[in-house]
């Protein structure tokens, strides 16, 4: 803008033929992004908690077996971590592949991850829990993968998203089934995830104009 003011009394130069890139993925952006993701995850985790309670109500009506109802509410208790980790990975994918994903798209992905629990509850009334879990995981991961592919037009980014989601859901299924060891394994996994996040921040570099890149 200063440059423009200095030359205000001169004839207007023609617009540049190529757009000057404004840095989007800055550190400030990353901070805001983390906050927004935390808020999204908290809201959807609250809703998922409600779905878990609704499962107990369906069970009292005799529509759902007790073990399935318990497992649905167990899986809903991992909702916050799951959504936060998924959305942060999509943020990292956004930076790594230099694509833009806007907040509406983040919100939609978050909704898909939240809808997982409602579909799980609905399907668990008809098939065994593990089968319902598998089907819903495939549906949700497939939808989000296609969406990410649509946004980024990059097969590798979409494949990475699918891989991360499937691994997350598989880990949660294992944690639900092992019961008493869940806290131990869950906390060690969270430790590993923090270590991974640290690793990614080390690989992150800034360019001269403040744009973040992942080497």
């Amino acid at each position: 803008m200063d440059t423009m003011n200095d030359f205000a009394n001169r004839p207007m130069p023609p617009l540049p033929a190529t757009k000057v890139s404004v840095p989007r993925h800055t550190t400030a952006w990353l901070g805001v992004q983390t906050l927004v993701i935390a808020v999204f995850s908290a809201i959807i985790a609250l809703i998922a908690d409600g779905i878990g309670d609704y499962g107990a109500e369906r069970q009292s009506q005799g529509l759902l077996s007790e073990s399935s109802s318990l497992m649905v509410s167990d899986s809903a208790s991992y909702c916050f971590a799951l959504i936060a980790i998924s959305l942060i990975s999509i943020t990292l994918i956004e930076v790594a592949f230099r694509k833009y994903v806007n907040y509406l798209q983040y919100a939609l992905i978050g909704c898909a991850l939240g809808l997982f629990y409602l579909m799980l509850l609905a399907l668990a009334e008809f098939v065994p829990f593990w089968a319902a879990y598998g089907i819903v995981t495939v549906i949700t991961a497939g939808l989000i993968t296609l969406f990410v592919k649509g946004i980024t037009a990059n097969v590798k980014a979409a494949g990475l998203t699918a891989g991360i989601l499937v691994v997350e859901y598989a880990v949660i299924l294992i944690l639900i089934y092992i019961g008493s060891l869940a806290l131990l394994i869950g906390s060690i996994l969270l430790f590993v995830i923090i270590a991974l996040a640290m690793y990614f921040t080390l690989r992150m570099r800034q360019t001269a104009d403040g744009e973040l890149i992942i080497k």
Binding site: R10, A17, V20, T27, T34, L183, S187, T207
Partner: protein, 429 residues
């Protein structure tokens, strides 16, 4: 950009790593304070998790202990004529010796005890209404959990006990007690957990308790006259001169009839109205594991650990003149909170000290390694790791010291304040 020329602007600069300028210190400090608040909320969530685990584990411990034997309350002996109390003892001595043991079921465990109870004392000469032939000596006690019992010796004779619901009953010959003072003694061994209480039912009652138990606490209408509690053992002595009215005895017998006999319906909630002048004394023991208590106590140091670490990060930034992005600071804080989650999950499998050691080594290694790679300086990494080691070992010492914790804690805070002042003198614009 030289936008005024007709030539197109240059392409965006090639992506090269540019060193970051440190943010302004004031902004940095405010942001760190905000992060501290967020991390404390996370700590609160971990605390809730500790609380949940503790209560669920204690529920299991209670159910294990209930199978072994629940709370024990010893009331009596009373001489019963018909349905009402005819006499209370003139002198009563009750010696309880406790031997505790730990029961295991999977990762759960419960602390229970075997109690050897010896009771002796004397009755005054009985003045029974004539024509009463149904005279019994009754002791209120959870009789089903008694596993060894010596017969009652009264007025020179030996009488076998029979179990009647929640009490021990011995039929006695009233005519033998008509003249003068009648001495009695008996003893039994009982399984129990949680607490053991004795009703001070004699006119002059002496109760002693001794044995081994973790963290006993004394309860009841009066505290012991003499007591000593060491690491594993305890002993206590109560003495009282109180007259328990016959009304109180009667209502005690009526109230306790269904409660202590083990005939309770576990689904029901019983409201027990105790006679106001009922004198009960005893000791309470922990049934569940107390390792969770140590975890929740160590959580109290979370704030100080986070603040001290952030201050060290701040000074590291100033001294090395290399920026530490706020996001990296936040990850370090998250690792500090993760320490407690690791501690909680390890403590269920190994001892508290071992869990603390493993969790702190993991956390310190992670943060030290991170600082090393972030600032590309081994020295910084080692410095931060040693500062963290110092903080964590101080916290452990404070957890174990108990009594000296406050003094040591305030000294450490004083020392760290002095270190900060010294470091801030080195700050140059």
């Amino acid at each position: 950009m030289n936008g005024m020329s007709t030539t197109p602007p240059p392409l965006p600069p090639a992506y090269v790593a540019a060193p970051r300028k440190p943010d302004r210190p004031g902004v940095k400090i405010v942001l760190m304070a905000v992060q501290c608040v967020v991390l404390m909320i996370a700590t609160l969530i971990v605390w809730g998790l500790v609380y949940d685990r503790q209560s669920s584990v204690n529920d299991v411990a209670d159910s294990i202990a209930d199978e072994w034997g629940g709370k024990v309350r010893i009331g009596g002996p009373f001489v019963m004529a018909g349905d009402s109390v005819a006499a209370v003892s003139r002198t009563l001595r009750c010696d309880v010796s406790i031997e505790s043991k730990t029961l295991h079921r999977g990762i759960y465990e419960a602390e229970v005890y075997d109690a050897a109870v010896e009771m002796s004392g004397s009755f005054d000469a009985l003045r029974l209404p004539t024509g009463t032939d149904d005279v019994r000596l009754t002791v209120r006690v959870p009789a089903r959990k008694i596993y060894r019992i010596e017969p009652l010796r009264i007025a020179g004779r030996t009488v076998e006990w029979r179990r009647d619901g929640g009490s021990l009953v011995a039929d006695i010959d009233a005519s033998a007690m008509d003249d003068g003072v009648t001495d009695f003694d008996f003893s039994f061994r009982i399984h129990g957990s949680g607490s053991i209480e004795v009703v001070q039912s004699g006119q002059h009652t002496v109760v002693t308790m001794e044995g081994e138990a973790r963290n006993p606490s004394f309860t009841g209408s009066s505290l012991p006259d003499d007591r000593s509690v060491t690491d594993r053992t305890f002993s206590a002595k109560w003495e009282s001169n109180s007259v328990m009215t016959t009304d109180a005895c009667n209502s005690f017998m009526d109230n306790d009839r269904s409660i202590l006999g083990g005939e309770m319906d576990p689904e029901m909630v019983y409201v027990i109205e105790e006679p106001y002048d009922l004198q009960v004394i005893g000791a309470k023991f922990l049934v569940g594991v107390d390792r969770y208590r140590k975890v929740s106590r160590s959580l109290k140091f979370a704030f100080i650990i986070i603040v001290l670490t952030f201050i060290s990060l701040f000074f590291t930034e100033v001294i090395t003149k290399r920026a530490i992005p706020m996001f990296n600071c936040f990850l370090i804080g998250a690792a500090l909170v993760m320490f407690y989650l690791l501690l909680l999950s390890f403590v269920e499998f190994v001892s508290f000290g071992m869990a603390y050691l493993v969790a702190s080594v993991m956390t310190i290694a992670l943060i030290g390694g991170y600082m090393w790679r972030m600032l590309a300086s081994v020295r910084t990494g080692v410095t931060i790791a040693s500062i963290l080691t110092l903080i964590y070992s101080c916290c452990y010492v404070m957890l174990c010291l108990g009594r000296y914790a406050l003094a040591l804690g305030s000294l450490i805070l004083f020392a760290s304040l002095a270190a900060m002042m010294w470091a801030s003198l080195k700050l140059k614009r």
